[in-house]
């Protein structure tokens, strides 16, 4: 079954089915709660018939800070997927798609230019998900992740910054067809 609801602060006591998975980081409470404090409607989850957590998405809506406006990497008002995770037993049911569509709709409602996210270069499954939903690579962030879950000896891993334009971007100004060729450093992304 598919049933969604907002993520409540007390759900941090129950998110182990998603967070014990190695591709999902567990942060301190400040991280989750600052999202609930600022964008409560963009933090949602899916439950199982017994009420356990099957998946969740954390998102935000913002632009780069104004002091950044002259930078080539300035981001206009957009939606961002900060975390999207589905418990291993609940994968391939469409939960990730349904949850991210919800964020896209919020992006549309608030007239954002696009939705974006970072994904590990090796995470082909997540990439397949996003590509299937109309996202494309906008740029590659070198060494964005400090570790590599597939290779303990590696120093880190690159991220793909993927984007999907929303209605406001009529001319498709904010997407690239050759994003994989655009490399930036972690300090360039905000």
């Amino acid at each position: 079954m598919t049933s969604l609801r907002p993520f409540h602060a007390t759900d941090v006591f129950k998110f182990n089915p998603t967070n014990l998975d190695p591709l999902t980081e567990t942060y301190d409470l400040n991280f989750y709660f600052s999202y609930l404090a600022r964008w409560p409607s963009l933090f949602n989850l899916a439950t199982s018939p017994s009420g356990t957590i099957s998946a969740y998405i954390m998102g935000k809506l913002e632009s780069s800070p104004s002091y950044y406006i002259t930078s080539a990497h300035y981001l206009p008002f957009h939606a961002h997927i900060t975390a999207l995770t589905v418990a291993p037993h609940a994968r391939r049911l469409g939960l990730a798609r349904v949850l991210s569509q919800g964020l896209e709709e919020k992006g549309e409602e608030y007239d954002a230019w696009f939705v974006d996210l970072f994904v590990r270069k090796s995470n082909r499954i997540a990439q397949a998900l996003y590509k299937g939903m109309g996202y494309s690579v906008f740029r590659v962030v070198k060494g964005y992740y400090s570790d590599d879950p597939n290779d303990e000896s590696a120093d880190g891993e690159d991220a793909w910054d993927m984007r999907k334009p929303l209605r406001r971007d009529v001319e498709r100004k904010h997407v690239r067809s050759d994003g994989e060729k655009w490399e930036v450093m972690p300090e360039d992304v905000w």
């Binding site: 598919t2 049933s3 969604l4 006591f13 182990n16």
Partner: protein, 1011 residues
């Protein structure tokens, strides 16, 4: 030097920074002599708070109280902040004193300068962070009054009043006042929104955001009428459909819930029908933007209202909606289509008769109405998702016995389980044969087979087990409804058969030359893992139901199953390292077998962090002090493994401190962003963390480990204890919050039966009653601890002990939550507690029967110590030492030691203790020494046994015994084939090493030297 106000103060601050406090005092006095200011007064107090003398510390508090009593108004915020810092130095983290002094000063400051917005904001934030809700409420009120154009402050005021009214700080007679005011005010704002003509230009004093709507609902829920809640939610300007609500889904959920509670069945039915229709209707740009209305909550409400209305026509409408959703032309996401299919199953269960007439043809017509067929239909469509089992379980549970058998034979035949090529055509029995479950060449075939096996386990094992558990049969002997053999609650032959089938399926699924693994990320789990998990579950049940005492643990009959479960899980883990459920099960099994270091190895594979340390630490650390209290030796190395147990527990304890800061920070952030609902949720998290059962566990275990290893508890650990144990823990029956996560363990049991986490407990799980008992014991052990460091603590501890004994005069010891050794220990500690309190209470001495009573208590204590010695002495099945053995040994040792300390402590008190205690203490000492001697003898016996060679072979013989026949033999053979010799040798070696490491702790056990 954040507080610097005047350049002339620089030398003072320099002296403070150089820790030259005397000089700082001199300098400040000099400045004060010239001109007295609030700031300089406060600075002086701050410096005094930094001085080490206790007298200075109490002077600080006295001064603060005096400032408040003088009705002083400090308009200089910097002075208040200095006082605040001073108080923090003297009474870190205090709340009550803070509220009475600093909170009050802050509020007076606002009253004096109400138009200073920054000061008001700073003070409000500060009061909120100290949970000083009454002052916060007054400041928020002042903000609203003085800045009437702020929309935000209107809601801050309402939020603060409401927060205060529902908090324990609010006097009972004021609850209604503040709650009523909050309700009244937000009600007016709601009315303004309702009456508005232009939703784009709402007046300042109106509800304008989804979070404000949620606040309205929250307040109305507590102080208003439920019909008002619903009225708001059904209003076009305030309900989920309104512009203000911005599509907030939780408002829809609330509306459906309240309509259900109000029995508005017809309206609910109509609403759900409309929502579901909207979900599948594209908009002008041909998009299904409202698809999320197909949420299962809506379908459930739809079905529930139909069942209440009892009108066949309604069911037909639902059926039409289901079909519209499932129509291939409908482009709604598969996630939502699955809801429609599940609704179809539910519908059929609720009204099979009316639905069967128009059911799609899927087989011979006589089978159409059968509920097993409906289940099979669903499996055919969705069986390749692992959630199919969870979706369908509730329906299987309500089948009648004959239907269950029917479904079982369908599952056995494995017919009609595959997705048909042509969905409407009849199933060709021959084709079904080809799609045999053993053809496990793809992930989806494996998942189908796993689901099928889980269902077989449900029908064959879990449901009947629960029925037997609930039956009133006294003998616990039954005839198995599945195989007709004699059985207990668990049926051995069914479990053996299921385990074997699971193991065989597992083996065939992984023998694919890595084809499936190729398509997976290295962090993915293997789809066949659940075969292994299911097999291990059956083996654990078998192990639990076959416990027969034997002098050597490895020869007792249940052990073979448990070892096989471990072998399977370990070997599955090698292929699927990210499968945390394998690790959780292994932690439990290794702990049970007394392999502390291996349990730790499995636990560390979970990589727990942050709040997970609160929710999952119990899996390893609950009772660690009676499993493996000494440092863990781990041959595998690895940086995180070298961390001591204490460090790991401290890491958990740190979480509670930092979380408090994080939460406070975000409560403020929520105020600033108008996220009112989040504020209340954060407060709930604070409540749960500050009363966490796991925090208590971490304190108790830390102290016990310290005491075991070094014979004393350091002052730092005791400070932690005061910080983490809720102050009100003694005063009420239930205060602790059980945040432990028991749900992440794999569980395929019937939803009516205990979950597998519970079924696999070999020793009682965490419970508030046990922790209360351990806290009492902890207090006693600290009071009688001979180390001089604790001198300062003793009187406080003694007072709290007396309070405890007075409040809780019953001698209740929660039997279910403790092992036998723990129960006896609890009685012994209880006796010590009463003796400690009463033997020094001279008023009681005057009572006529006092002496007899005291003798009785001492007798009880000696008896309990003897009882423990007997228990230890009589333990036979002890080599190698499993958890129950270790638990008894370490528990007995601890009580023995605390009884000895207890006697020594009383003997130092001279005439303050009743005369007769001296004699009684001698007897107690004897009993305690005898207990420790028995413990030491048992330890030596275990050690000698384990020092004898050949344990690796013994382990291997136990996993794969020669003596088996029949189905048990074939199960063993199946397990053997999953592993190889190299793996087995290595694993058995690890197990033996781990046993040896566990008993290394015995070397710490000794009779304390006499003073």
């Amino acid at each position: 030097m954040d507080n610097l106000q005047d350049r002339q103060d620089v030398p003072i601050w320099n002296a403070i920074e150089a820790k030259n406090f005397k000089q700082a005092l001199k300098l400040v006095d000099k400045r004060l002599a010239k001109k007295s200011t609030d700031y300089l007064e406060a600075l002086k107090i701050y410096i005094r708070s930094l001085l080490p003398q206790v007298s200075e510390k109490s002077a600080v508090i006295l001064h603060l109280e005096d400032v408040v009593a003088r009705k002083a108004v400090l308009s200089d915020l910097a002075a208040i902040e200095l006082y605040e810092d001073a108080l923090e130095e003297v009474l870190p983290g205090s709340r009550e004193v803070w509220i009475k002094t600093i909170g009050e000063l802050r509020w007076r400051c606002i009253k004096a300068v109400p138009k200073n917005e920054d000061t008001s904001l700073a003070c409000l934030q500060s009061c909120l962070s100290r949970d000083d809700l009454d002052h916060a409420r007054q400041i928020a009120n002042s903000l609203e009054k003085n800045f009437p154009n702020s929309h935000l402050y209107i809601f801050w005021n309402i939020t603060s009043m409401f927060m205060f009214s529902i908090s324990p700080q609010c006097p009972e007679n004021q609850r209604k006042i503040w709650g009523g005011l909050a309700l009244g005010q937000i009600g007016k704002l709601a009315a303004a929104t309702r009456q508005a003509t232009d939703m784009k230009q709402l007046p300042i004093r109106s509800i304008q955001t989804p979070q404000e709507l949620l606040l309205l609902d929250r307040i109305t829920e507590v102080f208003g009428k439920s019909e008002n809640r619903l009225e708001y939610l059904q209003d076009k300007h305030l309900g989920p459909e309104s512009t203000v609500a911005k599509g907030e889904w939780s408002l829809w959920r609330l509306r459906l819930k309240l309509m259900t509670e109000a029995n508005h069945w017809q309206d609910l039915f109509d609403l759900c029908g409309t929502l579901l229709k909207r979900a599948r209707t594209p908009n002008d740009s041909n998009q299904l933007v409202e698809a999320s209305f197909s949420d299962w909550t809506v379908w459930e409400a739809y079905l529930k209202s139909a069942s209440k209305l009892e009108n066949r026509g309604n069911y037909n409408e639902i059926r039409e909606e289901v079909e519209a959703h499932l129509d291939p032309a409908c482009e709604i996401d598969k996630g939502w289509k699955r809801n429609a299919s599940l609704a179809k199953v539910k519908l059929s269960f609720e009204c099979s008769a009316s639905f069967s007439q128009n059911a799609p043809s899927i087989g011979p017509s006589d089978k159409l109405s059968s509920q097993p067929n409906v289940i099979l239909d669903y499996l055919q469509e969705y069986g390749d998702a692992s959630t199919a089992y969870n979706d369908i379980r509730q329906f299987v549970e309500v089948l009648k016995p004959d239907e269950r058998s029917q479904l079982m034979s369908m599952l056995e035949d494995n017919t009609a389980l595959e997705k048909p090529q042509q969905p409407t055509g009849p199933v060709d029995p021959e084709a079904a044969d080809i799609s045999d479950s053993r053809n496990l060449s793809t992930a989806s075939k494996i998942t189908r087979a796993v689901n099928r096996l889980k269902l077989k386990h449900l029908i064959k094992s879990s449901i009947p087990e629960q029925e037997r558990r609930q039956s009133f049969a006294e003998t616990q002997q039954f005839k198995c409804s599945s195989c007709a053999n004699d059985c207990g609650v668990f049926c051995r032959s069914c479990l053996v058969q299921l385990a074997e089938e699971s193991v065989q399926s597992y083996r065939s699924a992984i023998s694919d030359d890595g084809q499936i693994t190729k398509s997976l990320l290295s962090t993915d789990r293997h789809p066949a893992d659940d075969f292994c998990v299911l097999a291990a579950m059956c083996l654990i049940k078998l192990g639990r139901s076959n416990i027969s005492p034997h002098s050597e643990n490895l020869k007792s009959s249940g052990i073979v199953y448990l070892l096989q479960a471990m072998v399977l899980l370990e070997s599955a883990w090698l292929r699927s390292k990210s499968n945390f459920q394998l690790s959780l099960m292994l932690v439990r099994l290794y702990s049970h077998l007394g392999c502390g270091s291996l349990a730790m190895r499995a636990y560390q594979r979970l990589f727990l962090k942050e709040v997970q340390l609160d929710t999952l630490s119990y899996t390893m650390f609950d009772r660690i002090s009676t499993l493996h209290p000494h440092p863990i030796h781990d041959s595998s190395g690895g940086s995180s493994n070298t961390r001591t147990l204490i460090e790991q527990l401290q890491k958990q304890q740190k979480l509670y401190k930092t979380s408090r800061e994080h939460i406070n920070k975000n409560i403020w952030l929520s105020f600033k962003h108008g996220s009112y609902n989040s504020i209340f949720e954060f407060r709930e998290v604070t409540q749960k963390l500050s009363h966490s059962i796991s925090a208590v566990m971490s304190v108790v275990e830390t102290n016990r480990i310290h005491r075991f290893i070094t014979s004393k508890v350091p002052a730092g650990a005791i400070r932690q204890m005061y910080g983490l144990i809720p102050a009100d823990v003694e005063s009420r029956e239930r205060v602790l919050s059980d945040n432990n996560d028991y749900e992440t363990f794999p569980n395929f049991e019937s939803s009516r039966a205990p979950g597998f986490e519970e079924l696999s407990r070999f020793i009682p799980g965490p419970s508030e009653s046990r922790y209360r008992v351990t806290l009492l014991a902890e207090r006693i052990m600290l009071i009688v601890d001979p180390s001089p460091e604790l001198n300062g603590e003793r009187s406080i501890l003694q007072q709290s002990l007396s309070r405890h004994i007075k409040q809780d005069s019953t001698s209740k010891v929660g039997v279910k939550s403790m092992t036998r050794a723990e129960q006896i220990a609890a009685h012994a500690h209880r006796a010590m507690a009463i003796i400690l309190t009463e033997s020094c209470d001279q008023e009681l001495w005057l009572e006529g029967d006092f002496k007899t009573r005291l003798e009785g208590l001492n007798q009880e204590l000696s008896n309990r110590l003897e009882e423990l010695a007997e228990l230890i002495g009589a333990m036979e099945t002890v080599i190698p030492a499993f958890q129950t053995t270790l638990n008894a040994i370490y528990t007995a040792y601890e009580v023995g030691r605390s009884a000895l300390n207890f006697c020594k402590y009383l003997s130092t008190k001279g005439k303050a203790v009743h005369l007769s205690q001296t004699e009684a203490s001698k007897k107690v000492t004897q009993a305690a020494e005898q207990l420790i001697r028995v413990v030491m003898e048992k330890c030596a016996f275990i050690k000698k046994g384990l020092d004898e060679g050949g344990w690796i072979d013994k382990v291997l013989e136990s996993v794969f015994p020669d003596s088996q026949t029949g189905s048990e033999l074939s199960l063993t053979e199946a397990v053997r084939k999953v592993t190889d010799e190299v793996f087995m040798e290595e694993w058995a070696g690890d197990v033996v090493e781990s046993w040896k490491d566990s008993i290394a702790g015995f070397s710490y056990i000794k009779i304390p030297t006499k003073v």
